[in-house]
Symmetry: C2
Subunit: 304 residues, 2 copies
Amino acid sequence: MSELKLTILGSGSALPRGDAFHTSQVLEMRNKQFMIDCGEGAQIRMRQNCVHTARLNHIFISHLHGDHCFGLIGLISTLGMLGRTADITIHSHPDLEGLLAPQVKYFCSEFPFDVKFEPFSPYKSEVIYDDRSVTVTTLPLKHRVPSSGFLFEEKSTERHLVKKMLDAYEVPMVQYRAIKAGADFVTSDGEVVPNHRLTTDPTPPKRFAYMSDTAYTEKHLDLIHGVDCLYHESTFLAEDAARIKATLHSSASQAATLAKKAEVKQLIIGHYSARYTDSKVFLDEARAIFPNTHAAFDGASYLF
Amino acid sequence: MSELKLTILGSGSALPRGDAFHTSQVLEMRNKQFMIDCGEGAQIRMRQNCVHTARLNHIFISHLHGDHCFGLIGLISTLGMLGRTADITIHSHPDLEGLLAPQVKYFCSEFPFDVKFEPFSPYKSEVIYDDRSVTVTTLPLKHRVPSSGFLFEEKSTERHLVKKMLDAYEVPMVQYRAIKAGADFVTSDGEVVPNHRLTTDPTPPKRFAYMSDTAYTEKHLDLIHGVDCLYHESTFLAEDAARIKATLHSSASQAATLAKKAEVKQLIIGHYSARYTDSKVFLDEARAIFPNTHAAFDGASYLF
């Protein structure tokens, strides 16, 4: 199982700072790329950080605030100019299609690929993407407009064959597949070789949870428990209690509290209010509760 | 008459480079700001270059290719969050309203200002903006879609009063207005003091021409003759003849040739193809024909 790689294209919030563009990330998982949110300038940050798009086929939009989706039309337009031929699918709130499809039709009509819209309900947790190696599940959040997080999960792989044991027992190759799936091996003498002598456990599947704009909520604690990496918005500090309440955002300490309760392996915070010019204050606040926290910045990459 | 100031927000073309965003400029003229084109990331560049928007009420979009207009919705959204209350008017091809107004309605419905659309015909040159000190005239161009340049012109001001002469002739203040407008003064003795003894000529009005995406055309030579500054797209070099023909763009040498024939005071080139990583090749080509050329870069400002 390969490592996952998360690249932060934009770590800012509604008002961009010069060094912190609007929210967008790219997750690389099982040789595929998934874009999560696409604020204005995402395509520029991709270019600046040499994030290529050949394996990008699915974009997940958490909610319809501009700082999470205004970069879509520019990205799609650029993909077309770069010679893309594969369709691209946008998973989002149902309203997006009516807002974006007319622009795609007008500006991108000559492109040899389709932009497909896959709406999901922001009110229930459900699997919205499922291929042979990855699933994506929505995590409905609490925000001023319907907002959803996403849980990206690798599927379990087969058991790893131990070649020297297979050779020692002279296991025919035709049986490898069954043994990877857990079968024992019976020798020509009738001896049963238990599977655990021929294989080792599969690498545990990796999991990444993305908690987009939201007031503090524990309703997905079970689903995100123990994830390899949790991204959680951290728009304010704990001292901004009135703003947190008015805007339905989270503080760094709330993000860290959720990470601690969910026993995640690492926390990445971002979506900082433009009121703050340095993300260190967010990092300090979060680390006091959950030490293994990283403060996202534009262009940062994380392997896990 | 104050100087004009042109700030380049984006100097790139259809495919952005990391350091050259899509096309956008802000012209400051007579204590007003006019935005010319608004590619993706224009609002970010405004923030990075401390271009404030209090005096920005009119945006002019040359044509409906994404690299000239995809930044509008993000800019409008940010203006709203920054507490703007004054309406903003977008002058463009008629199709823009149908594409952008639904997004404005969806994302910006709570803002206390209106976004007004003022469509213009891209097929005829006409005055599309006229206030007491500035006019803007369209300059229809030759491109793959209807495209238009713009000529920004200051109106003539009144003559300058020469205070010591007014005092010497004991001119009553009540007559200053008429004298600024060119009237002679008649003393109590009946002596006629000609206006030119009491005033000096007004500062010549400044003019800026913006030639957006276009194949080479001389059809506006008369209108732009002698402008204080000409911005002309320069997507390619002369050696890219096939691309110039296929895309209906201009080379640096064509931009310079027009500047020379129109006897403009200075030329600024931009909208470089992403094929080139250094604008110096464009500058060298243009200066061989028109020495007073500047190569635009993101964040550059020009006073004239």
